[in-house]
Amino acid sequence: MKQLKSFIRKEFYHIFRDPRTIMVLFFIPIAQLLIFGTVIKNEIQDIHIAIYDQAKDETTQKITNKILSSGYFILEKNLENINDIESVFRLGKVKEVIVFESDFGEKLTKEGKANVQLIADASDPNMARLAISYTSGIINDYVKKMHPNLQLPMQLEPEVRMYFNEEMKSAYMFVPGVMALILMLISAMMTSISITREKELGTMEILLVSPLRPMQIIIGKVLPYLLLSIANAFVIVLMGRFVFGVPILGSFTLLMLETILFIAMALCLGIFISTVAKSQMTAMFISMIVLMLPTILLSGFIYPIENMPEVLQVVSHIMPARYFISIIRAIMLKGTGILFVWQETAVLIGMTLFFIALSVKKFKIRLE
């Protein structure tokens, strides 16, 4: 125990004495959060739209006014023919077309449902997705206010169905993503680098010939980064809450437990990487290419998984971050409990166990 304690203290010395490590640990998370928070704007502005109003009644007029006065949209053109839709898109300026069916208002009051079609230009999927969710939000909002007794909300039939992703309505989707990214970075990359550094320096040779057991070396390496990662997770959640106003609707304890699980998974992955990589360079390379990029691109952090080509959708299943992000989104934004995320949790636990087993098996007591 004393050995372990002194090992951990040594690890902390390494961390706090290396300015680069400090940068990666404390400034990069905050910087990333701020960058993603401000650059990846999940907000739209001045989107040019066209409206094909077949009903031209009071209701559609009011809805149109509502949409145009929201400040997000500018009416480019009123269409008179269904065939104009395609041509107006081709011109490029119009990003979204709203189609009201004929007798929209009447149907709505009588039958309690009416159809509106939202068609968006998918060449900029992110924007299209946002435009549609904003429009449908506004329409729903209006209908609810006008007909509070209506049981069913108005049925929308957006053409670009794949963009309809209710969760995407929130403007702060990036917080869970950044969290996954940063925890992955710190946990996996930093542990793998710190172990391979000992190999490079030759100190691993001394550690191996000492009475330290492999498990002590592993725990000694992992524990400091586990603590730092948890601290980081706190900072991110708090910044999300107070700087960007991201709510935490679900249980905070559950959120933290899931986070610790993800960190543990990433740490084990880091150890595994270090058993494969011989130098810090290789460890960094593997972490970057194999972990970072896929985490950004394939986990649903920036690009919705539903939008990906099928092959990538399949690949995304092996991305631990995918499960973590979906768990965190569910807890933070939907307020769901463990019952709704147990499957994802189980997958993460499975991955953790897998990498622990693999690392312990591959961690050598000798140099070969």
């Binding site: 004393k2 050995q3 304690k5 002194s6 090992f7 040594k10 010395y13 390494h14 004495r17 290396d18 320096l201 030759g202 100190t203 040779e205 001394i206 550690l207 191996l208 010939v209 000492s210 009475p211 330290l212 007591i365 000798r366 140099l367 070969e368």
Partner: protein, 300 residues
């Protein structure tokens, strides 16, 4: 204290050690002398239980290097080839860390390291990375000794260290030997052989000879003639063209000459060189050094 029997080891298709056998007595200062790539490090790593031999067996203090690796790690101190301490930890922190890792304290074994450590103690708060080469080495040695090992294994401790520090280091080793520690040290410097009790000359994974340094040179049967002249390049060329020359190699300011048989006389060479207009000619017979022996064994 150390028993090595028929140890072989290969990496892929390169055979690093070929059936090596060797024994080191208790309390001996034993030198493994050979160039880079001779297999010194591989042999030491096998003894340190860091590598598994392909065949053969080795015992350290009666403990098998494969089966009893945990016990061996408690009784052996090891200094790997490169400086292997934490550069970002201070002198004191390094020593303290290794003491705790081996389940001991600096105070407990201070006696053993005192003579070495007191020289670097004034710098104990300095980061190890900022120490000079000689001081790093003293710290590394202190760390290797902190658990009072019975055997000390040092892999090229004097490589890349200046002459002053090298000399001091060998003095420290002698002092440790006095305290009853068995020491196995490797070096590429032939001139350090004379500082050991016994040496093994090792080349390309095989042992050329094992004996005390003086015996190694005494039993060397060949006659070596040392030659000097102003023009080194021409001297070497001319001597090589001498009909009865076997080997002609530069040794600093001199050339060491061995004839095909040992009948070449000094006067013969003197005459030969004077005819070829060499100036400042010196020709004399000398006692062979370890390097002469090594070279002659090596070319076999």
């Amino acid at each position: 204290m150390i028993e090595i029997k028929n140890i072989s080891k290969s990496y892929n298709d390169i055979q690093a050690l070929k059936e090596i056998s060797l024994s080191v007595e208790k309390g001996e200062l034993f030198g493994l002398i050979g160039p880079d790539g001779a297999g010194k490090t591989t042999l030491m790593r096998i003894l340190m239980t860091l590598l598994l031999p392909d065949s053969g067996e080795a015992k350290m203090n009666e403990l098998d290097v494969v089966k009893d690796f945990k016990k061996i790690r408690h009784i052996v101190g090891y200094m790997p080839g490169r400086f292997s301490l934490y550069q970002d930890l201070s002198v004191e922190e390094n020593l303290h860390f290794f003491a705790t890792v081996f389940g001991t304290t600096i105070e407990e074994n201070y006696d053993l390291i005192r003579d070495i450590y007191y020289q670097i103690e004034p710098f104990k708060t300095r980061r190890a990375g900022k120490l000079s080469g000689g001081m790093k080495q003293k710290l590394a040695l202190s760390c290797a000794l902190i658990h009072k090992p019975k055997i000390l294994i040092l892999d090229e401790p004097t490589t890349g260290v200046d002459a002053v520090s090298r000399k001091e280091f060998w003095e420290m080793l002698k002092a440790l030997q006095q305290k009853g520690i068995t020491i196995l040290v490797s070096t590429p410097y032939m001139d350090e052989a004379s500082l050991c009790d016994r040496v093994a000359l090792i080349q390309k994974g095989t042992i050329l000879d094992v004996d005390s340094p003086s015996r190694i040179t005494e039993k060397f049967p060949r006659k070596i003639i040392q030659v000097h002249s102003e023009d080194m390049f021409r001297l070497i060329q001319d001597l090589r063209s001498f009909p009865k020359a076997e080997s002609v190699f530069a040794f600093g300011q001199f050339v060491h000459f061995t004839g095909v048989n040992d009948e070449v006389e000094i006067s013969e060479l003197d005459k030969f060189l004077t005819e070829r207009k060499h100036t400042d000619v010196i020709v004399e017979e000398i006692h062979p050094g370890i390097e002469d022996v090594f070279m002659s064994l090596q070319s076999l």
